[in-house]
Assembly symmetry: C2
Homo-oligomer: 270 residues x 2
Amino acid sequence: MANYRPFMSDEGIHQLHTTIVLDEHGEQREISLTGERPLTIYLDKREIVTLMTLGAQPELLTLGYLRNQGLVDTLTDIASIQVDWDVDSVAVTTHQSKDNLDQLMSRRTVTSGCGQGTMFGNLLDSFETLQLQCPEFSAESIYQVLEALSDYNQMYKQAGAVHGCALCRGNNIDIFIEDVGRHNAVDAISGWMWLEDIDGDDKVFYTTGRLTSEMVIKVAQMKIPLLLSRSGVTEMGLRIAKQIGIGMIARAKGKHFLVYSGNEQFMVQS
Amino acid sequence: MANYRPFMSDEGIHQLHTTIVLDEHGEQREISLTGERPLTIYLDKREIVTLMTLGAQPELLTLGYLRNQGLVDTLTDIASIQVDWDVDSVAVTTHQSKDNLDQLMSRRTVTSGCGQGTMFGNLLDSFETLQLQCPEFSAESIYQVLEALSDYNQMYKQAGAVHGCALCRGNNIDIFIEDVGRHNAVDAISGWMWLEDIDGDDKVFYTTGRLTSEMVIKVAQMKIPLLLSRSGVTEMGLRIAKQIGIGMIARAKGKHFLVYSGNEQFMVQS
């Protein structure tokens, strides 16, 4: 059922507030502030979770959250996604709810990142059988991606306090999403890929955030074999990436980066 | 009941792994990696949550998590806290469980930060009636705290991918805790304050992380009236801080900082 689209609202908001602060000398400055709003997801009238979000892509965030948590199996199960900021919530209706929703929601894992993320169900177990093939890459190809990304990170540059994630193919940036939480940004990208029926296997996933276990698992679920981060890596994130076969490049800024996983696929120019 | 202490294990681990990476020229380098381990909390044999943690202070983290989520009311309710890394879990026994645990756990809010944090129950509502008084402060007093903190952030300096939080009084650092999640670090500090019966009202709370709504609420629950961050601020975090009366200083690095809240208490030297 190609090109199926649930009925979706279009309630993305561009939240960029300004405020007056004092600098260390007591001088007034006007600066930008990142917005942060609660968004409560209701799945067939059942309260699932409240996400704190920038709110730029609430429908994609909802879609990706439900997908990544395994709370909905296929896009065609979803009838509609309707965001209503008057009540800070999004109502999702399905053609048929999953039977084992109670069971899925009974286990929750609060993950690291710099927040305490949540995974319902068996997300942590889901990668056990997953195998991906990291493609060959070179310093030049990484620089191309980083160069293409330099126009993005708008909100970050203006107000800070957000993380950006991007889906890249060669030097094309297919989508770039910022949110107050990097897990939100990765969920929204996952939602977009689901909606547009995009494969991950020829893509590079970029994040400004750290590569913790949850980030690696989510990217693996999207079948993306190469991960690029501005920040660091945890031992568990690396272990999972190696186990699945994902290439992992971190501390990527300007002309520097470190290859943590996928060393054999790194084509060093002589 | 002063100086009550539950029976507690002492299973803090110092996780600092090393790995070989390739730099952009294909040269090998040995670098440090932050550890990240799951820790599942069982409260009276009931599975509450799995936290992903560095594992340095698992007992304090557990204590603070239960406190901040309102899952235990007083320290004296807790009989024992026993961490067992063989099964990545911590067993908490109480003298008497709360009656409304089911109700508290039925609502969950996944918060921002760069992860999706979780708050059970009514944490988001709990600050409605809270009022704190931001103390007077000067650039000199802020520099003193920052100077005292410069010896810390060890793990961060070595391996990155962690956040540090500290409880400061004048230029004393009472406690400094690092974790892969800044929410974990703030929970562990809260646990320590509970255990040692420490008041927050003469303290400054420092974090390397961003000041999102959840961070501000947690610090407010600890009755700490002044917040200092290396990073940025969200609009909702600032709104809550102003409502409660908390001073908020962010982007604090070296000799620079910005005062977001508590402007009237900022004593500008002439």
